[in-house]
Every structure is written in C-alpha cells, then in structure tokens.
C-alpha cells in the first residue's frame, strides 16, 4: 500500500531541504566574508564594542528561541551567561591558566549551566504549569544567582567582581573573528533548526500547548531539553565574553541584563532569529557610543521604542521593515516547503485478544459537585458509539476522562488491556487514544502540511535541521486530505482555511495519530449538509474497513441515527440507557429526558 504518491514530483520535494541548506550556507559564507574584512575597515573602538555585542547577540538568539518561537517568557538567560563567564574567571583566577585549563573551564561552565537549566526546567515546566509560573522561575533564577555571587566574598569577588585574571591577550582582530565565527555558527544552526520539523513543534507549543499534548507531543520534556540546550549556548557566549573583556561582575548574571535581552529581542523582531541578532548588535553598539554623551535620553528612547513595539507592533521592527521592503520590491514571501504525501501501511489497532476500551466505575467530582457517577461500559472493535444527552449530562467530561488520565476522580479506564492510570494526555495518545475537540483548535500560523506532520511526532523521526520531504499518513487521513481539497493547499497557513476545511484538517490530524480509539466531540457542529455527509462516510468507513472504535458526542440525532451502531444516553452524570439505535430512539425514557423532565431518571430496561 505504501509508495502511492499524490503531489509534487518526488525529486522536487526531496531537493527542497538541500536548497534550504545551501541558502543558509551561502548567507553564512557571506557573513564570514564580512567578518574577515570588518576589523580592517573599522576603528579599534568599534571593533572592541562589536566583540562584546557579538557575544551578547548569541545570547539574545537563545532568548528568541525560547520566547519568540516557543513562547516561554524568560528573564533568566543572563544567568547562564553569568555561569559561563564566572566559570572562566574563577578557573583562571584561582586554579590555573593554559589551553587545557581553558577547555576545562569552558566545559565546566557549560555543564554547570546545563545542570541549572535542568533544575529550572523541572521546576517551571511541569504538566499543568501556567506560563506565568515559568516566567516567575526564570525571574527568580538570575536574582538567586546574583545573590550567590555576592555571597561568595573574595572567591567570587562579590559586588566588585573579578578582573585582571590571566587570559588570552590576542589581537582584537583575532577576538573579533572568534566572536563572529561563534555567532555565525550558532545563527546558521539556529536558522536551520527553527525551520526544521522540530522548529515547527516549538511554534505549535507556543500557539496551543494543550493541543500538542493531545497530539502525543511531550511538551514538558521538550521545553526542559530546550532550556538545557539554550543554557549551554548562553554559557559558551558568557565564557567568551569573560575571556575577552577580562572582567566579570554580578551584573552579568543579573535580572537587568535578562530584561535587556528581552528588549533587544522584542525590538529586533521576536521569532525571526536574524532580527534579535541584528537588533542586539545595533542597539548595543549604539548604546556604547551614546553612553558617554546622552546615556539617559538613549535609554529613554529604547524604553519608549520597546513599549511602542509591544503595544502596537508586536512583531518587532525588523519584520515590519522587511514587510515594507518586500512591498516596495514587490516580492512575495518565500514559499513554505511542501512535502510529498505518502500512504503508510496501517497496522491493525491493538492486540486482537483484548477489548479496545473498558470503562469501570469512572466518576468525576468538583468538590461536592458530582459531575460523573458510576460510568461503566465497554467498546468493541469496529463499533461506532454515540453519546447523547442534554446539556450538562457529563458527555464532554467523560470524553476528557478518557483522553487524560488525570482528569477522573475515580474508576478505571483500560485500553487494550492497559490501564490508563493517571497518565497525562500525551501518554494516552501513545496508548491509542485520539481526541478531536469540538472547536477546531489548530495552529493559525502553521501550514496544512506542518499541522499534519505534528500528528506524526510519536511515529516518525523529527529532523532537527530540515523539513522531512516525505509526509507519511495513514489511508484514512490521506483520504480526508484528498477529498476536502487540502492536498492542493498543503502550503497554505491554517488561518486562511474555511471553517469546514479546518474541521477536516483537525480530523485528519487526529487520524494521522493512527489511534485505535477515536473520540469526537460534536464533529458536525457548524458544518453544511454535504460536509456532514462526508464526515459520516469517513467515520463509517473507519469503523468498517479499519475496525477502529469510534466514540462521538453528538446533538444532531439524525446524524446519530444514521451512522451509529450503538447509543449511550447520559443524564445528570449517569448512564441511563445503553443499547442499539432502534432501542434508544424509540424509548419513552429518552423522549422524556429531552422534553425536559425534571425528575432524576432511574435506569430502565429498553
């Protein structure tokens, strides 16, 4: 079944990542050429400040990746910078100096930063943490570190810092080339990274973290790894900075530097890599020049520009400039890469011997309010089960309890023999649950292809430097993509899709997870008649051809009648009826419930 291609000649698709790599290399070479020549064209003072600015630009880049791309507002990257700087100064001051010592100090600084990053990540990125709390932890980090430095007395130099320690007193040009090479290398890698598959995952986390969990993406783990990696880079930059300037002071680890980084990134253009790098260099160099003549007015201008940008131009100055330039030159923005679609052989869902879904005694309460009680039922292979009932019956709560192990207050949910326990949503996906939300909560700035790929996180390898040219999808997902015209719009951003197409994409993403059990919450809401029929056809074929188990919450009872093999009626948090479509539809009990009877309904035989 595999090997069936649909769009764009294979060769062209495979060539795309190569072209991307070449483009980045070309820019890197150009920058390197500039780097080599620059020291001979500029005066000593400028070169001196530029070297510092280059190291700081590398640090700002890490802030952009964390904040601009992943949405983690961090005040704490300065702490990692400080760790690297102090590693350099402490080792050179107290222990020794030489090539071996230098390597040792660099590695020590990087490892220490990574350890701190791991701690901070564990503290800040636990499942269910609010973004505000993460920012608080990153705020506390540089403050704590600064105080630790103060407390270090003569060892760390306390508030005056350390200076005059042995270091490499190379020519300015040499330092310039080292700093520049470091920055160019980090920038090129960063650009490749943010445009790769993994880079798209970061953007997805920024836009809708919860949805990522339901796509099986381990968000906490990714954020922690990212923090560790960015800490390492920050420490390397700090090491270089300290080695060059020959001075370290607590300000390098502090809260104020941390906020300055955010200002540089915001002004340069968050989420663009190049913007923050250029912005940092420009602002830092200008600051150095003006710090003699009008220090306060300059800071005032920066502060005002910062506030204006945040309020009015959240994208930053450089992207606005870029847009204006593009309009002037009448050039269209670079097209997003379009992968080739390919069918993947679908494996039969789960272990043949086990029952797909067993729900025993599930209940959910909020304080004294009982929302679900005594929920017991099973779903077999190839069953299409509809959950119906008036508002407030607990249907959506039940779906939540099936897709998120931590949601229920009691009871057991067992999938193919494995107990869901208290596993978070991304683990439930691994066990075979695929949940589609009522509102098509997808990622506005990602393309159709990028969204579909996100769903493949658990099943395929995600590249760190390129967009994998082939996108494998199971047949059901592929069919939706074909039939709804999404196959021709793979490079279109989601926000330009119609409501019906968004719903179709959402469903395709859920099916791309290759779930064994599909949970749908009001899949027909807001759809036209044709779209309704199409979804009905897709769900029916999922159940008949692929033998999946489908559970859907619906209000459109005609739809329910047409496609379900079984219906469960819920009322006031309990199951009141579980039977075939005919049994339920003709039941007097159900009519009573829907007519608004107020008596708590007792379970009745059909």
């Amino acid at each position: 079944m595999s090997g069936e291609t649909l769009t764009a000649p294979m060769a062209e698709a495979l060539a795309a990542p190569r072209a991307q790599l070449h483009r980045v290399l070309r820019w890197g070479l150009f920058a390197t050429a500039l780097l080599v020549v620059a020291p001979f064209l500029l005066d000593t003072y400028t070169v001196n400040i530029l070297i510092r600015a280059l190291f700081l630009a590398a640090l700002a880049l890490t802030v952009d990746i964390l904040w601009g791309y992943t949405g983690v507002l961090t005040f704490g990257q300065s702490a990692f910078f400080g760790v690297g700087a102090y590693a350099c100064a402490l080792v050179f001051t107290h222990y020794g100096f030489g090539p071996g010592w230098a390597v040792f100090a660099l590695i020590l600084g990087i490892l220490a930063a990574m350890a701190v990053g791991l701690l901070v990540g564990w503290l800040a990125f636990y499942h269910g943490a609010s973004p505000l709390y993460a920012s608080i932890v990153t705020l506390a980090l540089p403050i704590v570190l600064t105080q630790v430095v103060f407390a270090g007395g003569r060892y760390t130099g306390s508030s005056s810092g350390l200076s005059g320690f042995p270091t490499y007193y190379w020519d300015l040009e040499v330092w310039f080339w080292i700093a520049g090479a470091f920055l160019i290398l980090v920038t090129c890698l960063a650009v490749l990274f943010v445009r790769s598959d993994m880079g798209r995952v970061l953007v997805a986390i920024r836009e809708n973290e919860m949805r990522c969990a339901y796509l099986g993406i381990p968000v906490s783990r990714i954020k922690i790894l990212l923090m560790v990696a960015m800490g390492a880079i920050g420490a390397a930059a700090g090491f270089g900075y300290a080695a060059f300037t020959n001075v370290v002071a607590p300000e390098l680890t502090g809260f104020l530097l941390g906020t300055e980084l955010l200002i540089w990134v915001a002004l340069g253009g968050r989420g663009t890599i190049i913007g923050p790098v250029l912005g940092t260099i420009a602002i830092d160099v200008t600051s150095s020049y003006l710090s003699g003549s009008l220090p306060f007015v300059w800071k005032l201008i920066i502060g005002t520009a910062f506030v204006l940008v945040i309020v009015v131009l959240p994208q930053g100055l450089l992207p606005e400039l870029g847009k204006a330039l593009r309009r002037l030159l009448r050039r269209k923005p670079a097209p997003r890469p379009v992968p080739t679609l390919q069918v993947t052989a679908s494996k039969p869902p789960g272990d043949e011997a086990e029952i797909p879904l067993v729900v025993e005694g599930v209940e959910r309460h909020f304080g004294s309010l009982q929302v679900l009680q005594g929920i017991d039922f099973r779903v077999g292979r190839g069953e299409l089960l509809s959950l119906v009932g008036p508002n407030g019956a607990g249907k959506t709560t039940l779906i939540r309890c099936l897709a998120d192990g931590m949601e229920k207050s009691g009871g057991r949910v067992v999938i193919f023999g494995k107990d869901l326990g208290r596993w978070p949503p991304d683990r439930c996906v691994a066990l075979g649950i695929g949940r589609k939300f009522q509102a098509a909560s997808i990622y506005d700035t990602l393309t159709v292809a990028e969204c579909l790929r996100l769903a493949r996180y658990r099943l395929e390898r995600f590249s760190l430097w390129q967009v994998t040219p082939v996108l494998q999808l199971p047949e059901a997902a592929l069919r939706i993509v074909k039939e709804t015209g999404l196959a021709e719009r793979l490079d279109v951003e989601v926000r330009h899709l119609s409501h019906g197409q968004k719903q179709a994409l959402d469903l395709a993403m859920v099916l791309a997870l290759e779930p064994s059990i599909v949970l749908l919450d009001e899949p027909t809401a807001g759809l036209t008649k044709t779209e309704r029929e199409r979804i009905g056809g897709i769900l029916t074929s999922l159940v008949e051809r692929e033998r999946l188990s489908v559970l859907l919450v619906e209000h459109d009872l005609n739809f329910v009648r047409q496609i379900s093999s079984r219906v469960i009626v819920m009322h006031q948090g309990k199951i009141v009826l579980d039977g075939s479509v005919a049994e339920v539809v003709d039941s007097a009990l159900v009519r009573e419930i829907y007519a608004g009877s107020s008596h708590p309904v007792t379970e009745a035989g059909a």
């Binding site: 508002n391 809401a525 807001g526 209000h555 009872l557 009519r591 007519a595 608004g596 107020s598």
Partner: protein, 236 residues
C-alpha cells in the same frame, strides 16, 4: 398597552470566530409580549441570546432594543437600557451573599428595600436569606434568585436562557407563574429560550423553533396542536 416593539431582530447572523451558528434570524417581541424560542441542543439558541445581549459580534443584520439600534453595543450598555439577562450557566455569584447578588441587579440601589419587599411577595423564602452565600442555596432556589435579581430593577425586557433545566415541576410552576404575574402587573416583555415544551406553551404568547441556526417554524401558543407541532421538531 402600546404596540411598540421592545426587541427586533432583522436578518441576524452570528457565531464564534468565522463559524456562523445563527443564520438570518428575524423576529420581534412586542411590548408586554412573551415569546419562546425552542430547539434542540446545539441549534443556536444560547448563541442567539448572547448575540442580542452584545456578547457576540453580529456578522449580519441588526438588533434593535427599545427602538434603539444596539447591534454594536457592549453588554453593560444593553443592560442599562432596561434589559435583564439570565444566562444558562454561571448565572449567579456563588461567593456573594443573596443580598449582594440582588443589589447587583440594580444599577441604582436606592430603592432596594422597597423592591426587595415586592420580591418577597413573589418568592417568600428569600425573606430571611439575605446573608446566605448564594452558592449554598438549592438548585431551585438559585434559579429563583436569578429571576428575583432580574425583576429587582423593573426591567422592560427579560432574556432567559433555559431556566427550567434540572428543576422540580413545582419550582418550574412557580417560576412560570412569577413571569406571568410580572407581565400582568408591570407589562414586562420576555424572550425566553427553552427545551421544556409544556413550560414554554404555558408562559408564552408566541413560539418559534430554531433548527441549525435558522427559524424553522413559528406560531401562536394558544393555537390547537401547537404542542404536537413543536414536539415534532424536537423529536429524538
């Protein structure tokens, strides 16, 4: 009683984001009239009320309240024109006292004691409950509190979203009677959204059914066979 219109919807479409849930709805409520909008879950009834009250932007058409164009007005301005809104969920402040909830129903709290005495005539149980936290009232008492709050400021128009949900028949009767009495005494107009057919027919003068966001059918509540017609639309 003049025949002026208290609420006029002209070709109103609205929804969430780009989605259109309510399509091209036109209806009017005259002074002193009670109109019931029925329909199954998910058909757009709550969305319609939220649109009238200004919580959702109107994509097409116009909303006129008490002869004034309220299409683009925010909820608090519409409320201050004499419209009382009782939402389906989260309709009271659980952590505030009964008294505080009632006071919030009156932009000008000056006549509180007089109005409260009037309300106690309709819902006698409230007399000694002023200091009780609203969240500790029973389900039925909470709904009565909602209605009491709506009546405190003597509104011109009341919008009610499925107030009978989950209530005992006796309480439903009392609520219905209170609405009828208030209309008889003070000429208030009421636009209510319901799934409970008997309640709607008992209280309202006219009915309409909302299906997939559009008005599917309408009629007089006193006409014979109305119940059967509506039941047909709402059938499982």
């Amino acid at each position: 009683m003049s025949a002026e219109t208290v609420l006029e919807l002209a070709g109103v479409s609205s929804g969430y984001g780009e989605a259109t849930v309510v399509r091209d709805v036109s209806l009017s409520v005259k002074n002193g009239e009670i109109v019931a909008m029925l329909g199954k879950n998910g058909m757009g009834k709550s969305t319609l009320l939220k649109t009238v009250m200004g919580y959702l932007p109107v994509q097409k058409g116009a909303v006129t309240v008490l002869q004034n164009d309220m299409t683009r007005e925010p909820p608090h301005r519409i409320a201050r024109r004499g419209v009382a809104y009782s939402p389906q969920a989260e309709a009271i402040f659980h952590d505030l006292t009964v008294r505080e909830n009632l006071v919030l129903g009156m932009p000008d709290p000056h006549g509180f004691d007089a109005e409260f005495a009037r309300i106690c005539g309709i819902f006698p149980f409230m007399k000694d409950r002023l200091a009780q936290r609203a969240g500790t009232l029973s389900g039925g008492e909470q709904k009565m509190l909602i209605l009491a709050r709506a009546l405190m400021a003597r509104p011109r128009l009341i919008l009610i979203d499925e107030i009978t949900e989950g209530l005992q028949p006796s309480v439903i009767d009392r609520l219905g009677q209170a609405l009828l009495d208030e209309r008889a005494k003070n000429g208030v107009s009421i636009f209510l959204v319901e799934q409970h057919i008997q309640f709607a027919l008992r209280v309202a003068d006219r009915w309409a059914v909302l299906k997939l966001g559009e008005i599917d059918d309408a009629g007089d509540c006193t006409a014979p066979g109305a119940a059967a017609r509506i039941a047909n639309h709402l059938a499982v």
